[in-house]
């Protein structure tokens, strides 16, 4: 039996004592206003799937498991979780005295109701597909009985990609978008105007997890600000101007050139979050002419990713062939030989072998995400040089996202992954084969076999091997072009203490005004 416990060892207690000494400098108070480029059209605790939404919600919403600083799953609203030897039973011991924003104590009934709702409504409800039933033997115990071995289950419960938020049972019966935004987080809901702002205030009844400090999205979180307001300011220049004018204290997605200027401002500091996301070019492998593997490989061989990424990010990037970040345990070099080859001779040879006759290749992009727009503009020019007849179509994001899910009407589509490369391979499951898959191929036996092995293996080494094989196959068949890792320039007032960049979301706890 494996048990995950909240960390509270002797060594940590010493550290805790030291940390609390340092904490004297931190005081409660202040109204934090942050600005980000996008809003969300839903605050539903089980319906979130965007980075913008995570920034807004993760101060309010909490989960049984959370990811730590290095994205490993740790218990959060649970005190501990025990996994049976056969991997088919997960037993969660809930923390006692955890209060919802309504003041009611969280019990197993709330947890079960939350997961039932998640399994019905969430875009990531596949997480619950392997769960046979949820038992609640007493108010502080929740038992998940599995239908089959699912070794990524805890990872997915911890993932903030679409959080398995715990909400009161009476809220859990409500349909999508009808809940009252109640959970157990350090901040509680005040008001929300979808296109302008979200305001939250400190939840004074917050029951922090034991530990020395916040860790990733879990740990002992402390809310210092009286209120936090997330403002939506779409235009980059306006976000920067608002920071300079002192109207906001923290902004995301600062343009590289502006960040250089802000770095010279005595009142401000700029923090790099790199890697923050992964731009990708989706390829439709079931639609002619890109159903021709040789043609896809020819294009793959022609591309200079450095140029594409420079344009897409204004230079704020690192080249990376893998679908996970270099510090992730699953990082591997299987895709490296296929990445940013920029070899026109090889490309031309592959193109000749493919029998391509200049049929139009429709490349979709959108202007809502500038990096997608710019990467498509540059890549289409590189492919035109190879002799590919690219028809670039600029749509709006919803239309593009919709079209790129269909079998017909497109060949390539500029897109991006925000959270998946950060949290790890398990989160790619639905991207490759589910309703929102990125590898638009008909069944590929090599990928399927490796994925099954990944999910049935208990040993990390076996899982790594399976994932390496998946990445190698993806690259060899040129199902998706991985462009690189892009950064995010964060700028803030200098007196913002305790801030640490984190690709999971911006964390407004354990930060304070000095």
């Amino acid at each position: 039996m494996t048990t995950y416990r909240l960390p509270l060892s002797a060594g940590l207690i010493v550290a805790l004592a030291l940390a609390s000494g340092a904490a004297l400098a931190q005081k409660k108070g202040g109204d934090m206003i942050m600005a980000q480029p996008a809003g969300t059209n839903t605050l539903d605790p089980h319906f979130t799937a965007s980075a913008a939404a995570r920034n807004m919600m993760l101060g309010m919403y909490e989960t049984l498991m959370a990811i730590d600083e290095n994205t490993a799953p740790i218990p959060h609203l649970a005190e501990k979780v025990s996994v049976a030897e056969d991997g088919l039973t997960y037993t969660f011991a809930l923390r006692k005295g955890v209060k919802f924003h309504t003041g009611k104590e969280m019990t197993s009934a709330d947890v079960k109701a939350s997961f039932d709702r998640f399994g019905q409504l969430s875009p990531e409800k596949t997480t619950m597909a392997s769960v046979d039933r949820i038992d609640t033997p007493d108010p502080y115990t929740v038992v998940f009985k599995m239908k089959a071995l699912d070794t990524s289950f805890l990872d997915r419960l911890a993932s903030p990609a679409s959080p398995t938020t715990i909400i009161p049972a009476e809220e859990a019966v409500k349909p999508v978008n009808k809940t009252n935004n109640i959970s157990t987080g350090p901040y509680q809901f005040v008001e929300w105007e979808p296109d302008t702002h979200l305001k939250v205030k400190r939840f004074d009844g917050y029951a922090a997890a034991p530990g020395k400090a916040a860790d990733g999205l879990g740990g002992k979180k402390t809310a210092y600000f009286d209120t936090v307001t997330v403002r939506i300011i779409r235009e980059a220049s306006a976000r920067v101007a608002a920071l300079e004018a002192g109207q906001v204290q923290y902004v995301e997605d600062v343009p590289v050139l502006a960040a250089q200027r802000l770095a010279g401002n005595a009142k401000l500091k700029v923090v790099d979050l790199l890697p923050a996301a992964q731009p990708v070019m989706l390829i439709n492998s079931v639609q002619a002419p890109t159903n021709n593997a040789k043609l896809r490989q020819a294009m793959q061989a022609a591309i200079d990713m450095k140029e594409v990424m420079t344009a897409a990010t204004d230079g704020n990037f690192k080249l990376n062939h893998s679908f996970v970040y270099p510090n992730n345990p699953y990082f591997n070099d299987a895709g490296k030989p296929y990445y940013s080859v920029n070899d026109s001779k090889k490309a031309k040879q592959l193109l000749a072998e493919s029998g391509y006759k200049g049929e139009p290749i429709v490349m979709l992009t959108n202007k809502d995400y500038q990096y997608m727009y710019k990467s498509a503009l540059v890549m289409s020019e590189q492919l035109k040089d190879l002799g590919i007849n690219i028809k670039l179509e600029v749509l709006d994001w919803p239309t593009m996202a919709d079209l790129s899910r269909k079998r017909e009407g497109w060949n390539m589509a500029a897109s991006g992954l925000a959270i998946q490369p950060f949290v790890g391979p398990y989160s790619f499951m639905k991207l490759f084969w589910g309703a929102t898959h990125i590898a638009f191929a008909d069944k590929d036996p090599v990928l399927e076999e490796a994925w099954t092995r990944f999910n049935k293996s208990l040993k990390l080494e076996d899982r790594k091997a399976a994932w390496t094989q998946i990445e190698g196959r993806m690259a060899d068949q040129a199902y998706v072009f991985k462009l690189g890792d892009s950064g995010n320039k964060l700028a803030m007032t200098k007196n913002l203490g305790g801030f640490k960049p984190y690709a999971g979301a911006v964390r407004m706890w354990d930060v304070w005004f000095e």
Binding site: E193, A238, D402
Partner: protein, 314 residues
């Protein structure tokens, strides 16, 4: 007079009915199924059907039309797709910023446009006149959003005198409110300044030629007094008649100007509604702005008839 007002009211009602019909038609123009377009991202067949039912798109055209008019009659313009709120409420919330912007721009238009026009008329056919008229025609030729960007470069970037964007509510700080609106209001006003200067000049030239001015002058009254007392009144009456048009031009310009300067007004709301295909919001925004224009013109016409009895009631 009474008959004139009644007739004018009837015409207004007809125009308002037509205006709402045109606003309604926007969703009918969407090729294919608007529910599919609105549902957008990762929508399932169920969600599309839900949208169809929610917005009554599953009903025949005439039922939808009756619903639309019945809604408007009680001030209900439907639910926004993206804001999770009633369209009317969302529009009303955004109105103050736009009205503020329009007011400041209007004040600039009147002050600069009128004085430039009067100056040009008094100095008719001199270099001053020519300079002003040249500037006026340049003013109506510069795209307002581009002017806004240039003003940002000059006043915010180079000289760091004024904010590059953002908006401060009047209630929060009247001074900052005004400062935050100076650049956008000027960008918005320039077109109207050019128009008004040209109109004022020609009206003034016409007035100055008239007998009563000559008589006044002959009586030995100083020129400025003549202008202020007689000519200006005439010009002002004429200005009142174009308030509706100026207002309409400003609402038009606010779509781009509020986007350039990130002002949370009606224009920016419309621009984002358009980008997110929030058709109920687009319909409501069109209806509201057009209805405002129609009603302002009604008030102006009635006032005008009241002030100037020479008007033909026709």
């Amino acid at each position: 007079m009474g008959a004139f007002i009644v007739r004018r009211l009837l015409v207004t009602i007809v125009v308002l009915l037509l205006v709402s019909l045109i606003s309604f038609s926007i969703m009918q123009l969407v090729p294919g199924d608007p529910a599919v377009v609105m549902a957008g991202l990762a929508a399932t067949a169920d969600q599309i059907q839900a949208i169809r039912v929610q917005f009554g798109l599953d009903k025949p055209f005439h039922v939808q039309l009756v619903r639309w008019y019945a809604g408007i009659a009680v001030g209900d313009m439907g639910q926004s797709m993206t804001l999770g709120r009633a369209v009317g409420q969302a529009l009303i919330e955004r109105l103050p910023a736009t009205i503020g912007l329009a007011l400041v721009a209007f004040a600039m238009t009147i002050v600069i446009g009128l004085s430039a026009g009067i100056l040009a008329a008094i100095r008719q056919n001199t270099w001053i006149d020519q300079l002003i008229m040249t500037l006026a025609v340049v003013g109506v030729s510069v795209p307002s959003f581009w002017l806004g960007l240039i003003l940002i470069i000059v006043f915010a970037v180079t000289f760091d005198l004024l904010p590059a964007g953002g908006y401060v509510a009047f209630a929060q700080s009247p001074r900052d409110w005004l400062v935050s609106l100076l650049l956008p209001a000027f960008s918005l006003a320039l077109l109207q300044v050019g128009l008004l200067a040209r109109i004022t000049r020609s009206a003034m030239v016409e007035t100055l030629r008239q007998d009563f001015i000559r008589t006044a002058k002959a009586k030995g009254l100083p020129t400025w007094m003549v202008i202020c007392k007689h000519a200006l009144m005439n010009v002002m009456v004429m200005v009142v008649t174009i308030i509706g048009i100026v207002f309409s031009l400003m609402l038009s310009g606010s779509v781009v100007i509020e986007t350039v300067f990130s002002i949370p007004g009606l224009g920016r709301l419309m621009a984002s509604a358009i980008l997110t295909r929030d058709y109920p919001l687009i319909q409501g925004g069109l209806l509201l702005t057009a209805a405002m224009f129609v009603l302002i013109n009604l008030v102006v016409d009635v006032l005008y008839a009241y002030l100037d009895p020479r008007i033909r009631y026709d």
